[in-house]
């Protein structure tokens, strides 16, 4: 069996921005090596200025690398063919305000070369898929932030790409919208798509990502499967019904007799976003 081509392969990537003619430059990405396998949901994390957006722009061919190589499904990212299989949702997307949602998706579909016989059905399909059928005839200028994200996702998916790049897809979106976006990402994963996602909301990333990489000042600090990075392998948690004090003491004794130690007894807490979602009706 031949080894599958990685969806994204980054080898020794360096990106410098020239600041002055005297040699002063800003290194936005510093010797980055990454592989994103096909079918994964991959999180690219890091504080502001860590090089996430620069890396994404290089993957999309919007910027050229200073050194190193970036390939998308084996094709150098600077080539137009590399973008045929990529869908991109930029951070806080802004679209042509005078077009309706349907016109916008149709425009991008045609730009991507979706052929006429399938065009209408495909546009309807992705609009329906992101849940905007009811607002498809409205001008994009009247959309809320969450709706803009969803129409943005529709335009990113309209040509059925294998790789979807989502730059801060939940930034500025309310928890309902964020949860819906996470749901859509999971659906994409189920369809076998590769998703590269950057986000500041680490809890959401944790929920949907298979693997994450953390960047800081252009350098890769840590990379791995989410379970490996956040799981504490030398600890276990047992969640039980509320125990009366005497039962708890007995349990502690029972554990100590067997050489174990009870480290903490805590009240499990629901996550606030979950409480929010349980009490706010979904649109």
């Amino acid at each position: 069996m031949s080894s599958p081509v990685a969806a994204i392969s980054i080898q020794g990537l360096i990106k410098d921005f020239a600041i002055t003619l005297r040699g002063v430059k800003l290194r936005a990405v510093d010797t980055l090596n990454l592989e994103v396998a096909e079918g994964q949901v991959y999180g690219l994390l890091g504080p502001n200025g860590s090089g996430k957006s620069t890396t994404i722009k290089i993957i999309l061919g919007l910027l050229g690398p200073t050194h190193g190589e970036v390939k998308v499904f084996g094709v150098p990212s600077g080539r137009v063919e590399a973008r045929c299989k990529v869908g991109y949702l930029p951070e806080a997307p802004y679209f042509y305000r005078y077009l309706s949602g349907r016109e916008l998706v149709r425009f991008y579909a045609r730009v991507c070369g979706v052929k006429k016989p399938t065009l209408k059905a495909r546009v309807d399909e992705v609009i329906d898929w992101v849940g905007l059928s009811g607002a498809a005839e409205r001008r994009v200028g009247t959309y809320s932030k969450g709706m803009l994200q969803r129409i943005g996702l529709a335009q990113a998916l309209v040509h059925d790409p294998k790789l979807i790049v989502l730059d801060e897809p939940t930034a500025g979106v309310d928890p309902v919208g964020s949860a819906e976006m996470c749901e859509l990402i999971r659906k994409l994963k189920n369809q076998g798509k590769t998703v590269l996602i950057t986000s500041h909301l680490l809890a959401q990333i944790e929920d949907v990502c298979d693997r994450v990489a953390i960047l800081d000042r252009g350098r890769l600090m840590i990379e791995g499967a989410v379970g490996d990075l956040v799981g504490k392998r030398d600890r276990q948690a047992l969640i039980v019904d509320p125990l009366p004090p005497e039962d708890l003491a007995a349990l502690k004794v029972w554990l100590e007799e067997r050489g174990h130690h009870l480290n903490a007894v805590e009240q499990p807490r629901a996550r606030l976003d979950q409480v929010f979602l349980d009490h706010v009706a979904r649109r």
């Binding site: 410098d16 020239a18 600041i19 002055t20 003619l21 005297r22 040699g23 002063v24 430059k25 200073t66």
Partner: protein, 275 residues
């Protein structure tokens, strides 16, 4: 000192763009030269030295930039405004600026000379106290001076419109109407009639001038020669009017009926009858 090579990419691109533009300029030269020679020929040279002081820098650049026609129009409107104020030096200067900017439209030369020759003497007489207070000799001097300015101005137009019959006629008109100089007026009218584009009335007026100068025989000969050349179908040629004048001159000159001028058709009919 260490230089950042990537920082020079814009400079490299800029040089590449300049080189591309330069090559395009050289490549397009055969096309441009041929067209430009032709376009240039329709644009008389700008005599900027004579008017530079009267124009602002912006207008000078506009003129050089090809906005001569509209600049001349604006100055012509200004001339009309000065004319309404009977500002003699202002109007006279403005008239000359207009044709210095754009000497191509005849209308500027013709109307400008009319202002100089016909309106300005009135203004000068009015300024001298009016017709009653100004001696006839002075009035005549004003007429002559303005007429000379206008004629000199019109002579300048021939540099741009060689032998144009309307300019020749305009000079003839000034001799006729302002200076009452029939001899010179007739000379210019005759000159105009020799031009293929001369208006039909030029020949009729020339003959009338000859008659007024007591040279009816010359007028008769001229009209006899003119009449066969007139298109009877063209209402502006006024062939019947010319024939009427021929008849009037025949009466004045007491030419016997047998020797009367016969138009071509009548001649043919007469010949047919005699045969």
């Amino acid at each position: 000192m260490k230089f950042n090579v990537t920082a020079f990419r814009p400079a490299r691109t800029g040089l590449g763009v300049l080189a591309g533009l330069g090559l395009a300029g050289l490549a397009s030269q055969p096309l441009e030269r041929a067209a430009w020679t032709e376009v240039r020929a329709s644009q008389p040279a700008l005599a900027l030295d004579s008017i530079k002081d009267a124009l602002g820098q912006g207008i000078t650049v506009g003129l050089l930039g090809g906005f001569r026609a509209i600049a001349a129009d604006f100055f012509w409107l200004r001339t009309n405004s000065l004319w309404e104020d009977t500002d003699l030096p202002g109007t006279q200067t403005s008239i000359k600026i207009v044709t210095a900017i754009d000497p191509r439209p005849l209308t500027f030369w013709l109307n400008g000379s009319r202002m100089i020759a016909y309106d300005m003497p009135h203004w000068r007489i009015a300024r001298a106290g009016g017709y009653d207070a100004t001696p006839t000799v002075v009035q005549r001097r004003f007429d002559e001076e303005q007429a000379q300015v206008a004629i000199a101005y019109l002579q300048g137009a021939f540099a741009f419109h060689p032998d144009h019959p309307l300019l020749t006629l305009e000079i003839g008109n000034i001799y006729l109407n302002r200076l009452k100089d029939l001899e010179n007026a007739a000379r210019y009218y005759l000159q105009a009639t020799k031009h293929p584009d001369a208006p039909f009335y030029a020949a009729r007026i020339y003959a009338e001038l000859l008659r007024k100068m007591n040279r009816p025989a010359e007028a008769y000969a001229f009209l006899k020669e003119l009449h066969p050349k007139l298109d009877p179908e063209n209402p502006f040629a006024q062939a019947p009017v010319v024939l009427e004048r021929i008849r009037a001159l025949e009466a004045d000159l007491q030419i016997p009926p047998s020797l009367h001028y016969l138009p071509a058709q009548a001649k043919k009919a007469t010949e047919a009858l005699t045969q």
